[in-house]
């Protein structure tokens, strides 16, 4: 059974601070996706990374896919209260299923 472990589970930081969320597995994934979910809503896709070692930037968010395609990280620079939410990583297995991590709940205090 493929599992994705996210860390930390909870993160409470002050506005302006930087943070990194990690997503790790012992399994290889075809691609990895990052989502953000607000309370009472469905996850919203932030980025998809496909190639080992790939780095993608989305404004203040930087996503990296590990060389072996088993892990990924999300780095947020100068966090803002609008970044508050549940961040989910999801790995795509060989049969195109998404395996989700348990999420990182981020609170950015003004």
């Amino acid at each position: 059974t493929q599992l994705l472990e996210q860390s930390p589970q909870f993160l409470s930081i002050q506005e302006g601070e930087n943070l990194t969320v990690y997503c790790n597995s012992s399994s290889v994934f075809s691609s990895l996706q990052w989502y953000r979910q607000e309370p009472g809503e469905g996850p919203v896709l932030l980025v998809t990374v496909v190639t080992g070692g790939e780095v993608k930037k989305l404004k203040r968010l930087t996503f990296q896919f590990g060389d072996a395609r088993k892990d990924s990280s999300l780095h947020i620079t100068a966090a803002q209260p609008g970044d508050t939410g549940l961040y989910l990583c999801a790995g795509e297995d060989s049969s195109y299923k998404l395996i989700f991590g348990s999420g990182t709940r981020l609170l950015v205090r003004p």
């Binding site: 994705l4 996210q6 075809s30 691609s31 996706q33 989502y35 009472g40 809503e41 469905g42 996850p43 919203v44 896709l45 998809t48 496909v50 989910l88 999801a90 795509e92 049969s95 195109y96 299923k97 998404l98 395996i99 989700f100 991590g101 348990s102 999420g103």
Partner: protein, 114 residues
């Protein structure tokens, strides 16, 4: 361009009852996947439909079944409801196949079983 829509938004059922949830995919998408998200957890894959057939299934009992219609919309049926079935049920649509295909989620249906 309408995104993924789901109905109803909320539902309260009693143990032992049956429930049907509905999903309309994003325009241009042909594949629908269903997920169960318990409180404080990440979504768990239930099954995926493409060309009106179940293509992939997660670790869920046969009480969970589904259907896809010719217009690509889909239903999720759960029989003999248990208290543990209380969760947010998410539908996601995509184009079938290929590494890095992107799934777009609907707002979910919140099911409460009492």
């Amino acid at each position: 361009d309408a995104g993924v829509t789901q109905s109803p938004t909320h539902l309260i059922k009693t143990r032992g009852q049956q429930v049907t949830l509905r999903c309309s995919p994003k325009s241009g998408h042909d594949t629908v996947s269903w997920y169960q998200q318990a409180l404080g957890q990440g979504p768990q894959f239930i099954f995926q439909y493409y060309e009106e057939e179940e293509r992939q299934r997660g670790n869920f009992p046969d009480r969970f079944s589904g259907h896809q219609f010719p217009n690509y919309s889909s239903e999720l049926n759960v029989n003999a409801l248990l208290l543990g079935d209380s969760a947010l049920y998410l539908c996601a649509s995509s184009l079938y196949g290929g590494a890095g295909y992107e799934q777009y989620f609907g707002p979910g249906t919140r099911l409460t079983v009492t």
